[in-house]
């Protein structure tokens, strides 16, 4: 069941490649806007780079949250999935994994290239990738809670942002902290361990909250 939902979501995302690529291009454009707005001075860019890469990743992943459950909710598939004897936890898990693979992994892959735009060193770029690798699953997991809560509502997109961004803030702080620690030369490991801890916590509890929220929304 898990495999089936995962495979189905991946195929559907492949058929609607444009949606997926739109998120990626949003990420690229937003990260490029900041140097244009703030000025190209190398020192400034190196200081603001971690924050910008991370905030852009946050915003880009929020844009794509509607797609986790939205399409299936509208054509009734979600209701059928919840009616199966398999636990909703598995359905949520598969969908979140598909969302991460499709929406977040491209961001992680393109992030080093964007880091070069900001003049970050190779060591820092490695930490950018690692922190995003650890942090983006958390974004998908927590985002799924917001997506499940706001299924079918009027101003769902904006509301999801409002609900989910406060919960994203610890991830943002730890992720950017890790990158800045590398730039400054202070210890990176504690930040990455904290990121890992949030990942483990979210991994265990978030799908459960999402499945509860799904059952509430698909009444």
């Amino acid at each position: 069941m898990f495999g089936w939902v995962l495979w189905r979501d991946l195929i559907l995302a492949w058929r609607h490649r444009a949606d997926v690529l739109a998120t990626l291009f949003f990420f690229i454009i937003v990260t490029s806007l900041f140097p244009l707005g703030i000025g190209p001075e190398p020192q400034t860019l190196q200081t603001i780079a971690p924050g910008i890469v991370w905030v852009a990743a946050l915003l880009a992943s929020m844009l794509s949250l509607g797609r986790i459950f939205g399409n299936d909710y509208q054509d009734g598939t979600l209701e059928q999935l919840l009616l199966t004897p398999q636990p909703a936890y598995l359905v949520v898990f598969a969908k979140v994994l598909a969302h991460w693979l499709v929406s977040e992994v491209p961001l992680v892959i393109i992030a080093p290239v964007l880091g070069l735009q900001f003049g970050l060193s190779q060591n820092t770029l490695l930490i950018v990738v690692v922190s995003l690798l650890l942090g983006t699953p958390v974004l998908s997991l927590i985002g799924a809670i917001g997506a499940a809560l706001t299924l079918g509502l009027r101003a769902a997109n904006v509301l999801v942002a409002l609900l989910v961004l406060p919960l994203y803030i610890p991830v943002l702080i730890f992720g950017t902290g890790a990158i800045q620690a590398t730039v400054n030369g202070t210890g990176t490991k504690p930040w990455l361990l904290l990121l890992g801890a949030t990942l483990v916590l979210a991994f265990v509890f978030a799908p459960w909250a999402s499945s509860a929220a799904l059952k509430i929304s698909v009444e």
């Binding site: 809670i145 809560l149 706001t150 509502l153 009027r154 101003a155 509301l159 409002l162 609900l163 961004l165 406060p166 919960l167 803030i169 610890p170 702080i173 909250a209 509860a212 929220a213 509430i216 929304s217 009444e219």
Partner: protein
């Protein structure tokens, strides 16, 4: 006089809770006003001038109670929402909705008074230290809760969705409370421990009295608001027509 014990569960029904709340409100309102008068008097006229900060420290008498109420009310809101969700009790969810506004107001007051205090005390209106950031997150969580409930038309779905959100955000409250211990930040450390008080006794008593005053205020205001919510949501119930007449 009956020898049976009181059946508290009967007050879980809006029909029974409505008159009870109506009787409680005047009591708590009077107590609130008295405690505010006493607390403000002690805070402004009895407590001595601070050695380092002069008179500007007195904003602590509003800032600390407001911050405490903001956090405490969030926990209470989450508990009520959880009860309303778990036991399918409408009144629990109505209480959560009623508490949310008061909690948001207190958190806002604590952020604003904190900024106003920060300028004379630290020289800046705002720093991004752990406690201020997590209190800001608490403010966002309240706003998220209120917005979510406002945008769902079906009342029961709104109740349950709010409960999920409130419980997920509950993890933020211990983070705020312990943030001053876990991170070395600009915010001062804990002033109250079980054994020692680091403040002058009159300052301490003013703060505790005002904390009690804010608590009584919260109870009174939440009860008024929950009565309004009951009237809105139970508007077609026959008992309401009699109670209001």
């Amino acid at each position: 006089m009956s020898t049976r014990r009181i059946n508290w569960y009967k007050y879980a029904a809006p029909a029974n809770f409505y008159p009870l709340a109506g009787k409680m409100i005047p009591v708590f309102s009077v107590v609130t006003v008295l405690l505010f008068i006493i607390g403000l008097y002690v805070g402004f006229f009895v407590a001595p001038t601070d050695f380092q900060q002069g008179e500007s420290y007195r904003i602590i008498f509003i800032h600390v109670p407001a911050a405490w109420m903001g956090m405490f009310l969030y926990v209470l809101m989450a508990v009520y929402a959880g009860l309303g969700w778990a036991f399918n009790a409408r009144l629990g969810s109505m209480m959560a909705t009623a508490i949310s506004t008061t909690g948001a107001i207190f958190t806002f007051i604590s952020l604003v008074t904190g900024s106003l205090w920060g300028k004379p005390a630290w020289g800046v209106y705002w720093v991004w230290d752990a406690r201020m950031t997590s209190t800001l997150i608490l403010m966002f969580l309240y706003i998220g809760f209120i917005s979510l409930q406002a945008s769902i038309d079906d009342p029961r779905r709104a109740d349950r969705a709010g409960a999920v959100l409130a419980l997920v955000g509950l993890i933020n409250v211990p983070i705020i409370y312990f943030s001053v211990q876990w991170w070395n930040t600009l915010h001062q450390g804990a002033t109250f421990t079980a054994r020692s008080f680091k403040m002058a006794p009159s300052m301490l008593s003013a703060m505790l009295i005002l904390m009690a005053a804010c608590w009584m205020y919260s109870i009174a205001v939440v009860l008024v608001r929950v009565r309004c919510i009951i009237r809105e949501r139970e508007s077609e119930a026959p008992w309401l027509a009699e109670a209001v007449a």
